[in-house]
């Protein structure tokens, strides 16, 4: 059995037994819905409905209802797309990369972080879909034989790479998540007394029985999936960044983009995980499983990735001057002093300065400060994408075609709507799905539970 040093804080507090873990997670699913959950889901589904209304209006009328024009042909839509995909990256990082590194603290948060990934990628996929204008011919992005002659999609284009990257990322994350869920659905099935619910969880659990051979395969499959999801997650945001980096637009055409986007994605994703989990642990009474130690570890990831993002901003700025290319220099001068300077300075403050506060142990371990800063980071990372996209597009080589972008109410409505849909899905997940990976948590109870630590401390005295 794995041992952990006695001086480390336990990962699971409160002297739990195996049965307590099951009770704490399955109990809320079997019992009636709490009032706070009902209030939250009502609000978020109303927002979601408003968003769906805006999307339907957009599809019915055309993408002109967004503030786009012939100079700025991409704005909030692609900003939101990149923002949502970026958020998704934290879930895969937690479940795959931390699994390869054998980080046990991931076990309390991986299930909900992966759910967040899946819902965030769905939200991201909405934007390129509706930006097509004619969404009903969306299947043209696939290489299908067609009636227009031998015309194939262009495999040299990063936009097509993105189709493959996002769909692979989504489906592999979904499978990874579901394979982990099967044994936990079996636990719910075996405890459920209501016949209909028992039947539903029975179907969802695929007849899982927990045989030794099944577990042996389960562990191997999790490890291999983690192994292939790790390069996958890095490739996805690298390809997203190439959507910009391969274009000859000043401010986009830089080789720093892939690593810069990937660390930005992890940075924003962990911030979103903090925002969601700090609320969830309170509402679902999971304080013994997700506590200060987990929050602190995530904040450390936020400092690291946030600092990489900060270095990338400064490098970009320096290189734009050092390159001697006047268009490139102007793009950056225009970013920090032009019509979108406010967005630029919001981005700089939120992403470069605010995460550095986590160097203070007090702030890093304070739940209130973490929650506030996580929202600041989310806002900052949205503005980062907005700044990169809009400032580079609105003024490029030819001053006669310079323009400006102003968001319309539909731009705002669709974005707020995706927040609503996302939260609705996440709330449904917390109500009906096991929010902690039961089988994984039980396996670390002995090495990192309260009672084990007490024994170890006794021995060392």
């Amino acid at each position: 059995m794995q041992q952990e040093a006695a001086i480390r804080e336990p990962l699971i507090l409160g002297n739990k037994s195996y049965k307590d873990i099951t009770d704490d997670v399955v109990g809320p699913i079997v019992g009636p819905a709490p009032k706070s959950w009902k209030i939250l889901i009502t609000i978020s589904s109303l927002v979601a409905l408003y968003g769906i209304g805006c999307i339907l209006y957009l599809i019915g009328t055309g993408i002109g209802v967004w503030g786009l024009n012939k100079t700025v042909g991409w704005a909030w839509d692609i900003t939101n797309f990149v923002w949502w995909v970026g958020i998704g990256h934290a879930g895969t990082l937690i479940s795959a990369v931390l699994l390869l590194f054998r980080q046990k603290w991931r076990m309390a948060i991986n299930r909900s972080a992966e759910a967040m990934t899946i819902f965030a990628v769905i939200m991201a996929a909405i934007f390129p879909g509706i930006h097509m204008g004619r969404i009903w011919v969306g299947y043209w992005v696939f290489p299908l034989p067609n009636q227009f002659g031998s015309l194939w999609v262009n495999f040299n284009s990063p936009l097509l790479w993105d189709v493959f990257a996002i769909s692979t990322y989504f489906s592999v994350s979904l499978v990874f998540w579901y394979i982990g869920l099967i044994p936990d659905f079996a636990t719910i099935r075996d405890r459920m007394t209501k016949p209909l619910a028992k039947k539903i969880y029975g179907i969802l659990s695929f007849g899982w029985s927990g045989r030794a051979k099944q577990w042996s395969r389960f562990e191997e499959v999790s490890l291999v999936l983690a192994g292939i999801a790790t390069p996958l997650v890095f490739s996805v945001h690298s390809i997203v960044s190439m959507d910009f980096a391969t274009a000859v637009i000043p401010g986009w055409h830089t080789t720093i983009f892939p690593p810069y986007f990937v660390s930005g994605a992890v940075f924003s994703g962990f911030a979103m995980v903090q925002t969601l989990l700090l609320v969830m642990r309170k509402v679902m009474k999971l304080e013994d499983y997700i506590h200060v130690r987990h929050v602190e570890y995530m904040n450390i990831v936020i400092i690291v990735t946030g600092s990489i993002v900060g270095v990338a901003y400064l490098t970009e700025l320096f290189i734009s001057w050092y390159s001697g290319v006047e268009y490139e220099s102007y793009a950056f001068i225009n970013r920090f002093s032009g019509p979108y300077a406010t967005s630029y300075w919001i981005m700089m403050t939120c992403n470069v300065i605010s995460p550095q506060l986590f160097w203070f142990r007090k702030i890093r371990r304070s739940l209130v400060a973490t929650f506030a800063l996580s929202i600041v980071v989310n806002i900052g990372m949205w503005f980062e994408r907005y700044v990169i996209i809009v400032t580079s597009l609105h003024r490029d080589y030819n001053p006669s075609s310079w323009g400006e972008f102003n968001a319309t109410s539909i731009d705002v409505g669709v974005f707020i709507g995706t927040l609503g849909i996302f939260l609705t899905l996440f709330l449904l997940f917390t109500r009906y799905f096991p929010v902690l990976a039961l089988n994984e948590l039980k396996s670390i109870l002995k090495s990192s539970g309260d009672s084990q630590k007490a024994v170890q401390n006794q021995e060392s005295k």
């Binding site: 007849g207 051979k213 395969r217």
Partner: protein
């Protein structure tokens, strides 16, 4: 001598089960299976479970994906309808290969992951609507069960029970089953 009886010995701790399994196997008893709420590390060699080959399966599916992706892109972009896109080479797969790396990688991952996941489901017998076969609902909560068949052992059920009762079980039960 076998009268088709199955013996389920339940333990309330994974370490107790592991110890008991070692003791029983040392007496020459064949353990059919073990049911547990989470993976009990170290049980596989004791009850004679070999390492799964699913990782190899995944590699083979991934290589199939690599070949299909390259074949497809060669056909679409080189053979069937070469296009001049910004002067990029479009007349041989090798010259155009750098631009094909991302899609090849993604498609290999897609095939490797889904191929392995499907094989895993089929080999495990876990598919939508399959009935659960764990002997007791508590094995998905906090109990650990060793399953033994008299037909697979030289002993009768009574002898198996006697051997198992020395391993401090939490509970024991014997059932008739259809051979």
């Amino acid at each position: 001598m076998a009268d088709n009886k199955v013996l389920h010995v339940m333990y309330d701790d994974d370490m107790k089960l592991l110890e008991a399994a070692r003791e029983l196997v040392a007496q020459g008893i064949h353990i059919k299976d073990v049911y547990s709420p989470f993976p009990v590390h170290g049980i596989d060699p004791v009850i004679g479970i070999k390492r799964t080959r699913l990782a190899i399966v995944s590699f083979m599916f991934a290589m199939t994906g690599t070949s299909l992706a390259l074949l497809g892109m060669w056909y679409f972009m080189i053979s069937d309808w070469p296009m001049n896109i910004g002067g990029k080479p479009s007349f041989s797969l090798l010259e155009n290969l750098p631009a094909f790396v991302p899609v090849t990688f993604e498609f290999s991952v897609l095939c490797g992951a889904h191929g392995m996941a499907l094989t895993y489901m089929l080999r495990n017998g876990t598919l939508p609507g399959m009935p659960a076969t764990n002997p007791d609902p508590r094995t998905s909560d906090d109990m650990f069960v060793i399953e033994m068949l008299d037909a697979e052992n030289e002993m009768s059920v009574e002898e198996l029970e006697a051997a198992a009762s020395k391993t401090s079980p939490f509970e024991m039960s014997t059932k008739q089953y259809e051979a």
